[in-house]
Symmetry: C2
Subunit: 197 residues, 2 copies
């Protein structure tokens, strides 16, 4: 941006800086995203970034929120599909998002230090949203809407994250067999519930 003469209002400029910061996750983990590092990358002063983001944690929070919303948006369930096809479609787009944005995904699910509870809460919101999508798919298919179902869905999200972190690192295959396995694993852990109830 140095030397640019374009006049942006403060909101646009801030949004541009957030987009640059989120984009940097492609090649740099969240831990390395500091105000000085972003200032160098954007060619702006640290003071300007402190003005926009308040603090290092403030920068991380808006970056995590933006990345989280991008992932949730990219994997939004298609309401016109019947439940099982909707689950498969959502998972297929999730695997695609992780393949295309591995650094962003890894920063989302493994990045935020446990010392910032606000950062963890941002990610936990995404996990709850995804677990709710899974619960909806099974409840529509007649599974009882119990606490156990919600717990199993939440735990299954952790199962999926663990497999997808391998995809994000380029260590695991990310094609249709993985998507199909994810669908079957969801059905399997939900079916395993019914014996206890």
């Amino acid at each position: 941006m140095p030397g640019e003469r374009t006049r942006l209002d403060a909101g646009e400029r801030r949004a541009q800086l957030v987009a640059l910061a989120v984009g940097s996750l492609a090649d740099t983990p969240l831990d390395a995203l500091t105000i000085p590092a972003l200032a160098r990358r954007a060619g702006v002063s640290r003071g300007l970034l402190f003005h926009y983001f308040g603090s290092h944690d403030g920068l991380h929070r808006i970056v995590l929120e933006t990345a989280r919303d991008a992932m949730l948006h990219a994997t939004e369930p298609a309401p016109e599909l019947p439940p099982r096809a909707r689950l498969r479609d959502t998972l297929s787009r999730t695997v695609g998002f992780v393949r295309d944005h591995g650094g962003t995904f890894a920063s989302l699910v493994r990045g935020p230090a446990s010392t910032d509870p606000d950062a963890r809460e941002i990610i936990d919101q995404a996990r709850r949203a995804q677990a709710d999508r899974v619960v909806a798919v099974f409840v529509e298919q007649g599974v009882a809407d119990t606490d156990d179902l919600h717990r199993a869905a939440r735990a299954w999200i952790a199962f999926v994250e663990e497999l997808l972190v391998g995809v994000a690192r380029g260590e695991e295959p990310a094609g249709d067999p993985l998507v199909d396995y994810l669908v079957r694993s969801a059905e399997a852990v939900v079916a395993a519930l019914s014996v206890v109830e």
Copy 2:
């Protein structure tokens, strides 16, 4: 320890301080375990703790290693049992450990900040050890020893951790139905593999 006249050699004294630090996880999360906090609790000088542990991260590493080894030891598989009974027995003792040492378990699986790769590696070793135990149970029962089985076992460990974090927080029931569900969920995600291979 203040006022005590017992003479301990350095190794014993260090071990005593580590035990005190691990014990503190029962009521205080790992994040709050600092050299000054432990010095107050133990009634010794900060200098002595720096002498024994080198640094804050050094203290956290030995505490995590000790807690991890206690959990792995308490949940060591019983080799005399056939595979399925061995898995159930291991899971039953794991649930018992989490019920009795919820703070320690939560610090192990959610405590270490992502900024200390050494701390993460200590926990990842435990996850690999537990995944290997699960793989052994299924391979002994005739399941093919593939990369997919190892990945599924590793992801299932994340599934179990998520359920057990709820137990550690006292938010979820921790009786035989949970143990039985964990056994069935392991069998379910492994059985779901066989279609793709």
